[in-house]
Amino acid sequence: MPAGILRFAMGLALLLGVAAPGVAGADTWPSREITLINNFPPGAATDLTARILARSIEKQLGQTVVVKNVPGGAGQLGPAELAASKPDGYTMGLVGTSTYLTAPHMMDVPFDAWKAFSPIAQASELRYGLAVPSSSPIKSVEDLIAASKKKRLTYSSTSPNNVVALFQLAKLTGANLRWVVFNGGNEAVLQAVGGHVDAVLQSATEMKPQIEAGKLRLLASASPARWAEYPEVKTLRELGYDASSPGPMGYAFPAGVDPKIRDRMEEAFKGALADPEVQKQIQALGIVPEYRSGTDFIKYLRDLQQPLLVVLTESGMKTR
């Protein structure tokens, strides 16, 4: 009897000892479930995209990928948790322009984005657009600029990232535009439809239903490329204004992850974004599935530093 118990105890200890820390070698990765940190509450477009991607990656890697929502901290609680996680390849999280470029100038974040993360890949790009309520007399971007010079015009949007295009536009043309900050994309769009602000600059996801219903008039795409849903609407750049808003969204590991693991995850993302089913679902949300490798993603972000800094300084949001 005692020998049996002893053997059982040893077996249990062995089992726990083996199971608990998890073998961290790149050869056996992934040997257990992977966590994907999303910085917004369930239901936000980024959350839905994450879930779509998670399913595809699950199939490729043969391990469950669980989306963990860590909202709060103005979208930085998630990256903070990611930065503090073990770099064993089992925790990855969403990163974008806010983590790298805007939040560090607006609050005290407990990490240095450029050093704390090992970027995996860019997965999507949000498309932004400038629209006015359909009842408005403004029919084009030129009209908007002209009207703003007579009387200050207001526009609604949610974050500094979105409004880069309009800040640049105002600088180039002398348009008198005031950004009114709203709490959620849908709210910002609703206020424009109701005519409480003169225009709105938000992402395609939030604006599509209203444009389709004829309540909003899309004046221009505020992104480098036109919207797939409205290919006849030009971009601000095509109209002659060097203005556009960035919208890259990507994923990263905490810094220090084995490069082999990172490469394999990058492959998985590449595969996911090449899947037509995944593309279709993401596009249905109004988001553009766009893949960039980790290194390209970081380079893209670095190029965006200057324009975003300008927005922050001029809007008075830069406090650090």
Binding site: R51, P71, G72, L77, L190, P209
Partner: protein, 500 residues
Amino acid sequence: MEALLGGFATVFQPMTLLYCFIGVFLGTVVGILPGLGPLTTIAILLPITFKMDVTSAIIMLSGIYYGVAYGGTITSVLMRIPGEASSIVTCLDGYEMARKGRAGAALGIAALGSFFAGTVGVIAVSFLSPPLASAVLAFGPAEYTMVMLAGLALVTYFSSGSRFKALLMVGFGLLLGCIGSDPLAMTPRLTFGVFHLSGGVDLVPLAIGLFGISEVLSMALQKPENLKVLAPPSRLLGFLPSRTEARRSVGPVARGTVLGFLVGLLPGGGAVLSTFLSYAVERKLSRHPEEFGRGAVEGLAGPESANNAATAGAFVPLLCMGIPANAITALLLGAFMIHGVAPGPTILERQPELFWGVVASMYIGNVMLLILNLPLVGLFVKILEVPRAYLAPLILIICMIGVYSTNSAAADVLLAALFGVVGYVLRRYGYDLGLVILSYVLGAIFERSARQALAISDGDLSIFASSPLCIAFAVITAVLLAVALIPRRRLPVPALQPPA
């Protein structure tokens, strides 16, 4: 009308009915569990629906949403723990009714009131959607400010204890709402350097701490025998209210339904606000205001109906305009979009079968929920008979899970625990905690909207009188304040005193 019947035809297929049932059942369960919200559940189930057709998917996910409004009542009445934010007000009188041995009746009235409100709400959605949807558009920042001001004025109807203490609780509720990122400048406010607070204090740890955990602490001090006395004799038809209770509930249910539906329409309004408003209105209109806080059936019937009506109301802007009224409907919107449907003004022309299918499912869902909830009342009430030694730890663990799971943050559990202790102390010395929650919700929206309005008007204060809606709510505020100042008959005993 034929379109609605067509909708019923869509729903009355075995698989669809099954999905509807799964949805409302899950919703009830989620509603019962404190802190666990419909948002997470819907999000988790969403990928599973990818393979389903869009109508069934939406029917199931919607079922979760309005099922929650039913389930949240149960823990509120039986344990004074709000299963959902919209059940916080139920903790006030519903729990007191349970203490008086009327738990069955409380749950029964809540279920029946919820059914009435839910069904009427769906009828309103079916036939009044288009005009109501456009009414929603008229609310800009200035209008919201005035609405919130009226809401804050209603605060005076809540407490009959010391005026200073009531105002103090309102003030702290407003301060709690300020913690976090400034809505306009996005700088952290009142965070004391703690990074976790830069996202603000979430409603869940606040509500569960102030109400649930403080109650567990209070339970510790009760003599064990006293607790057992609370269990009512469980009869098979124990959910039937007495004649008086039924009669007194009719008005509150009707008023709660209308009020809840209207408040639910407004983006940012929602179930929480509707319950508090209904409570305040009922208290003001009641012939027995001193009973509020001690088991007044009106204080249960009104808010319970209001929150179900508000849930139905939230579907109007979603289905008709593609505008979500709150985070949950935003998620449902996302679900629609992933399935390739964009709800909005065109939905009635392009995909009427989807619209009517969802509406029809809501009728059926409400019936299912009534059938689910009523007979089980006897079972639920048995929970009260469980000795405190088993119940208290279970409640505490469930609270911990509920709080932690919201943001996956251990810091939230700390907050909830702190609020629990503070909540106990404040209640002990006669402070009304309901006011904290109410002003916390209202204050955040009030400040944000006021500043947005001033940004639009370039500092010009006249924007707050610029539309008929603004003026209407300003008048309501003035009236409320004036009526509150009319001296009331001095009540012999403050309303929150426990029975001697």
